[in-house]
Protein backbone atom coordinates (compact mmCIF):
# COMPACT_ATOMS: atom_id res chain seq x y z
CA UNK A 1 0.00 0.00 0.00
CA UNK A 2 1.03 3.66 -0.64
CA UNK A 3 3.04 2.76 -3.77
CA UNK A 4 6.35 4.52 -4.33
CA UNK A 5 5.79 6.68 -1.22
CA UNK A 6 5.27 3.68 1.09
CA UNK A 7 8.50 4.27 3.01
CA UNK A 8 7.46 7.85 3.83
CA UNK A 9 3.81 7.07 4.62
CA UNK A 10 4.55 4.05 6.82
CA UNK A 11 7.54 5.84 8.31
CA UNK A 12 5.23 8.66 9.43
CA UNK A 13 2.67 6.21 10.88
CA UNK A 14 5.48 4.32 12.60
CA UNK A 15 6.89 7.52 14.13
CA UNK A 16 3.40 8.45 15.40
CA UNK A 17 2.97 4.96 16.84
CA UNK A 18 6.33 5.24 18.66
CA UNK A 19 5.33 8.64 20.10
CA UNK A 20 1.99 7.28 21.36
CA UNK A 21 3.57 4.10 22.74
CA UNK A 22 6.15 6.14 24.68
CA UNK A 23 3.51 8.56 26.03
CA UNK A 24 1.18 5.76 27.16
CA UNK A 25 3.89 3.55 28.69
CA UNK A 26 5.68 6.41 30.43
CA UNK A 27 2.37 7.75 31.79
CA UNK A 28 1.24 4.41 33.22
CA UNK A 29 4.65 3.31 34.55
CA UNK A 30 5.00 6.62 36.43
CA UNK A 31 1.38 6.44 37.61
CA UNK A 32 1.84 2.95 39.04
CA UNK A 33 5.15 3.86 40.72
CA UNK A 34 3.64 6.99 42.33
CA UNK A 35 0.55 5.09 43.54
CA UNK A 36 2.67 2.33 45.11
CA UNK A 37 5.05 4.80 46.75
CA UNK A 38 2.13 6.76 48.22
CA UNK A 39 0.39 3.60 49.46
CA UNK A 40 3.62 2.43 51.12
CA UNK A 41 4.17 5.79 52.85
CA UNK A 42 0.52 6.07 53.92
CA UNK A 43 0.71 2.54 55.33
CA UNK A 44 3.88 3.39 57.24
CA UNK A 45 2.33 6.62 58.56
CA UNK A 46 -0.80 4.75 59.69
CA UNK A 47 1.15 2.03 61.50
CA UNK A 48 3.31 4.71 63.15
CA UNK A 49 0.24 6.60 64.42
CA UNK A 50 -1.28 3.31 65.71
CA UNK A 51 1.79 2.63 67.82
Amino acid sequence: MAGKYAVFVWGAYGASCIAFTWMILDTFIRSRAARRALERLEGAARSESDT
Partner: protein, 239 residues
Protein backbone atom coordinates in the same frame (compact mmCIF):
# COMPACT_ATOMS: atom_id res chain seq x y z
CA UNK B 1 -14.69 24.75 36.61
CA UNK B 2 -11.07 25.82 37.27
CA UNK B 3 -12.00 26.85 40.82
CA UNK B 4 -13.75 23.52 41.44
CA UNK B 5 -10.83 21.49 40.08
CA UNK B 6 -8.28 23.57 41.99
CA UNK B 7 -9.08 21.38 44.98
CA UNK B 8 -6.86 18.27 44.67
CA UNK B 9 -9.50 15.97 46.19
CA UNK B 10 -12.17 17.17 43.77
CA UNK B 11 -9.70 16.91 40.89
CA UNK B 12 -8.84 13.31 41.84
CA UNK B 13 -12.55 12.42 42.03
CA UNK B 14 -13.25 14.09 38.66
CA UNK B 15 -10.24 12.67 36.81
CA UNK B 16 -10.93 9.16 38.13
CA UNK B 17 -13.88 8.80 35.74
CA UNK B 18 -13.01 11.47 33.13
CA UNK B 19 -9.62 9.97 32.14
CA UNK B 20 -10.97 6.51 31.13
CA UNK B 21 -13.86 8.10 29.21
CA UNK B 22 -11.44 10.32 27.27
CA UNK B 23 -9.10 7.35 26.71
CA UNK B 24 -11.86 5.18 25.25
CA UNK B 25 -13.10 8.10 23.10
CA UNK B 26 -9.53 8.69 21.85
CA UNK B 27 -9.07 5.02 20.90
CA UNK B 28 -12.41 4.96 19.04
CA UNK B 29 -11.85 8.23 17.21
CA UNK B 30 -8.28 7.36 16.18
CA UNK B 31 -9.32 3.89 14.99
CA UNK B 32 -12.18 5.42 12.96
CA UNK B 33 -9.92 8.15 11.57
CA UNK B 34 -7.21 5.63 10.63
CA UNK B 35 -9.72 3.36 8.88
CA UNK B 36 -11.06 6.29 6.83
CA UNK B 37 -7.59 7.79 6.26
CA UNK B 38 -6.15 4.59 4.86
CA UNK B 39 -9.17 4.09 2.60
CA UNK B 40 -9.26 7.53 0.92
CA UNK B 41 -8.12 7.73 -2.72
CA UNK B 42 -4.63 9.15 -3.39
CA UNK B 43 -4.56 12.94 -3.92
CA UNK B 44 -4.17 14.05 -7.55
CA UNK B 45 -1.02 16.04 -6.69
CA UNK B 46 0.40 14.48 -3.51
CA UNK B 47 -0.47 10.88 -4.30
CA UNK B 48 -0.39 8.59 -1.26
CA UNK B 49 1.63 11.06 0.81
CA UNK B 50 -1.70 12.79 1.55
CA UNK B 51 -2.16 10.04 4.18
CA UNK B 52 0.73 11.53 6.17
CA UNK B 53 -1.49 14.59 6.72
CA UNK B 54 -3.79 12.45 8.94
CA UNK B 55 -1.03 11.96 11.52
CA UNK B 56 1.02 15.11 10.93
CA UNK B 57 -1.68 17.80 11.20
CA UNK B 58 -3.39 16.36 14.35
CA UNK B 59 0.03 16.04 16.01
CA UNK B 60 0.76 19.71 15.24
CA UNK B 61 -2.69 20.82 16.48
CA UNK B 62 -2.30 18.82 19.69
CA UNK B 63 1.22 20.15 20.25
CA UNK B 64 -0.21 23.68 20.17
CA UNK B 65 -3.11 22.63 22.41
CA UNK B 66 -0.58 21.18 24.85
CA UNK B 67 1.37 24.43 24.92
CA UNK B 68 -1.83 26.44 25.41
CA UNK B 69 -2.62 24.18 28.40
CA UNK B 70 0.94 24.55 29.70
CA UNK B 71 0.76 28.34 29.38
CA UNK B 72 -2.76 28.58 30.84
CA UNK B 73 -1.95 26.30 33.78
CA UNK B 74 1.30 28.20 34.40
CA UNK B 75 -0.63 31.48 34.49
CA UNK B 76 -3.20 30.10 36.96
CA UNK B 77 -0.42 28.64 39.11
CA UNK B 78 1.67 31.81 39.05
CA UNK B 79 -1.21 34.21 39.77
CA UNK B 80 -3.54 32.13 41.98
CA UNK B 81 -1.02 29.65 43.42
CA UNK B 82 -3.17 26.63 42.58
CA UNK B 83 -1.17 23.46 43.20
CA UNK B 84 -3.26 21.42 40.73
CA UNK B 85 -2.55 23.95 37.97
CA UNK B 86 1.17 23.60 38.59
CA UNK B 87 0.84 19.80 38.53
CA UNK B 88 -1.12 20.03 35.26
CA UNK B 89 1.53 22.29 33.70
CA UNK B 90 4.25 19.84 34.68
CA UNK B 91 2.16 16.98 33.28
CA UNK B 92 1.50 18.74 29.95
CA UNK B 93 5.14 19.45 29.06
CA UNK B 94 6.42 15.93 28.21
CA UNK B 95 3.21 15.16 26.30
CA UNK B 96 3.57 18.41 24.34
CA UNK B 97 7.20 17.60 23.56
CA UNK B 98 6.18 14.15 22.25
CA UNK B 99 3.39 15.55 20.05
CA UNK B 100 5.71 18.27 18.71
CA UNK B 101 8.43 15.70 17.94
CA UNK B 102 5.82 13.59 16.13
CA UNK B 103 4.69 16.65 14.12
CA UNK B 104 8.28 17.52 13.18
CA UNK B 105 9.22 13.96 12.14
CA UNK B 106 6.02 13.29 10.17
CA UNK B 107 6.28 16.74 8.53
CA UNK B 108 9.81 15.94 7.50
CA UNK B 109 8.69 12.60 6.06
CA UNK B 110 6.07 14.46 4.01
CA UNK B 111 8.50 17.22 2.98
CA UNK B 112 11.14 14.95 1.47
CA UNK B 113 8.99 13.48 -1.33
CA UNK B 114 6.90 16.66 -1.85
CA UNK B 115 9.44 19.49 -1.42
CA UNK B 116 12.58 17.50 -2.13
CA UNK B 117 14.04 18.29 1.30
CA UNK B 118 13.67 16.98 4.86
CA UNK B 119 14.04 20.43 6.42
CA UNK B 120 14.26 24.13 5.43
CA UNK B 121 15.86 26.52 7.94
CA UNK B 122 14.39 29.49 6.08
CA UNK B 123 10.81 28.30 6.58
CA UNK B 124 9.14 30.18 9.42
CA UNK B 125 6.47 27.51 10.09
CA UNK B 126 9.06 24.77 10.46
CA UNK B 127 11.38 26.86 12.61
CA UNK B 128 8.56 28.17 14.85
CA UNK B 129 7.43 24.58 15.52
CA UNK B 130 11.04 23.65 16.32
CA UNK B 131 11.07 26.59 18.77
CA UNK B 132 7.89 25.12 20.33
CA UNK B 133 9.72 21.81 20.81
CA UNK B 134 12.67 23.63 22.41
CA UNK B 135 10.28 25.53 24.71
CA UNK B 136 8.86 22.22 25.98
CA UNK B 137 12.37 20.86 26.51
CA UNK B 138 13.47 24.12 28.16
CA UNK B 139 10.50 23.97 30.55
CA UNK B 140 11.35 20.37 31.51
CA UNK B 141 15.07 21.14 31.85
CA UNK B 142 14.39 24.18 34.02
CA UNK B 143 12.14 22.20 36.37
CA UNK B 144 14.70 19.42 36.63
CA UNK B 145 17.72 21.66 37.15
CA UNK B 146 16.56 23.66 40.21
CA UNK B 147 16.46 21.65 43.45
CA UNK B 148 13.92 23.86 45.23
CA UNK B 149 10.63 22.75 43.63
CA UNK B 150 8.84 26.05 44.32
CA UNK B 151 11.62 28.10 42.72
CA UNK B 152 11.81 25.67 39.79
CA UNK B 153 8.06 25.99 39.27
CA UNK B 154 8.16 29.82 39.28
CA UNK B 155 11.06 29.96 36.79
CA UNK B 156 9.46 27.38 34.48
CA UNK B 157 6.07 29.14 34.66
CA UNK B 158 7.64 32.42 33.55
CA UNK B 159 9.34 30.64 30.65
CA UNK B 160 6.01 29.00 29.71
CA UNK B 161 4.23 32.38 29.73
CA UNK B 162 6.91 34.03 27.60
CA UNK B 163 6.71 31.12 25.17
CA UNK B 164 2.97 31.70 24.61
CA UNK B 165 3.94 34.39 22.09
CA UNK B 166 5.13 31.57 19.83
CA UNK B 167 1.59 30.18 19.35
CA UNK B 168 0.28 33.02 17.13
CA UNK B 169 3.65 33.04 15.35
CA UNK B 170 3.14 29.35 14.43
CA UNK B 171 -0.47 29.93 13.40
CA UNK B 172 0.12 33.02 11.26
CA UNK B 173 3.68 32.31 10.04
CA UNK B 174 2.33 31.09 6.71
CA UNK B 175 0.44 34.38 6.26
CA UNK B 176 3.12 36.76 7.53
CA UNK B 177 6.08 35.33 5.62
CA UNK B 178 6.74 33.48 2.39
CA UNK B 179 7.15 29.87 3.40
CA UNK B 180 7.73 26.52 1.76
CA UNK B 181 4.92 25.23 3.99
CA UNK B 182 1.50 25.63 2.36
CA UNK B 183 -0.79 28.40 3.57
CA UNK B 184 -3.78 28.01 5.87
CA UNK B 185 -6.05 25.48 4.18
CA UNK B 186 -8.52 24.40 6.89
CA UNK B 187 -9.48 27.13 9.40
CA UNK B 188 -9.76 30.02 6.95
CA UNK B 189 -12.34 32.57 5.84
CA UNK B 190 -14.18 31.13 2.86
CA UNK B 191 -14.01 27.55 4.10
CA UNK B 192 -11.46 24.77 3.88
CA UNK B 193 -9.51 24.21 0.66
CA UNK B 194 -9.27 20.48 1.33
CA UNK B 195 -11.79 18.07 -0.23
CA UNK B 196 -14.37 16.69 2.27
CA UNK B 197 -13.12 13.14 1.65
CA UNK B 198 -9.84 14.17 3.35
CA UNK B 199 -11.41 16.47 5.94
CA UNK B 200 -13.40 13.76 7.73
CA UNK B 201 -10.44 11.55 8.65
CA UNK B 202 -8.44 14.65 9.52
CA UNK B 203 -11.05 15.95 11.98
CA UNK B 204 -11.59 12.49 13.49
CA UNK B 205 -7.85 12.11 14.04
CA UNK B 206 -7.66 15.66 15.42
CA UNK B 207 -10.45 14.91 17.92
CA UNK B 208 -8.83 11.55 18.78
CA UNK B 209 -5.39 13.09 19.37
CA UNK B 210 -6.93 15.84 21.54
CA UNK B 211 -8.89 13.27 23.59
CA UNK B 212 -5.73 11.16 24.00
CA UNK B 213 -3.85 14.23 25.20
CA UNK B 214 -6.67 15.01 27.65
CA UNK B 215 -6.71 11.46 29.04
CA UNK B 216 -2.93 11.28 29.45
CA UNK B 217 -2.84 14.79 30.93
CA UNK B 218 -5.38 13.81 33.59
CA UNK B 219 -3.48 10.60 34.47
CA UNK B 220 -0.13 12.43 34.64
CA UNK B 221 -1.64 15.21 36.78
CA UNK B 222 -2.99 12.57 39.17
CA UNK B 223 0.49 11.04 39.28
CA UNK B 224 2.06 14.41 40.09
CA UNK B 225 -0.46 15.03 42.91
CA UNK B 226 0.31 11.58 44.36
CA UNK B 227 4.06 12.20 44.03
CA UNK B 228 3.73 15.46 46.00
CA UNK B 229 1.69 13.75 48.72
CA UNK B 230 4.39 11.05 48.91
CA UNK B 231 7.15 13.67 49.19
CA UNK B 232 5.16 15.42 51.96
CA UNK B 233 4.72 12.15 53.88
CA UNK B 234 8.38 11.22 53.47
CA UNK B 235 9.47 14.61 54.77
CA UNK B 236 7.08 14.33 57.73
CA UNK B 237 8.40 10.83 58.51
CA UNK B 238 12.00 12.05 58.33
CA UNK B 239 11.34 15.04 60.62
Amino acid sequence: MITVLANPHRFMAFSRWAAPILGVAAAGLIAWGLALGLAVPPDYQQGDTVRIMFVHVPAAWTAMLAYACLGGASFVSLVFRHAVADAAARAAAPLGAAFTAAALVTGSLWGKPMWGTWWAWGDSRLVSVLVLFLLFLGYLALRASIEDEAKAARAAEILALVGLVNLPVIKFSVDWWNTLHQGESIFRAGGPLIAPVYLWPLFLMGAGYSAAFGALLLVRTRTEIRRRRAVGLALRAAA
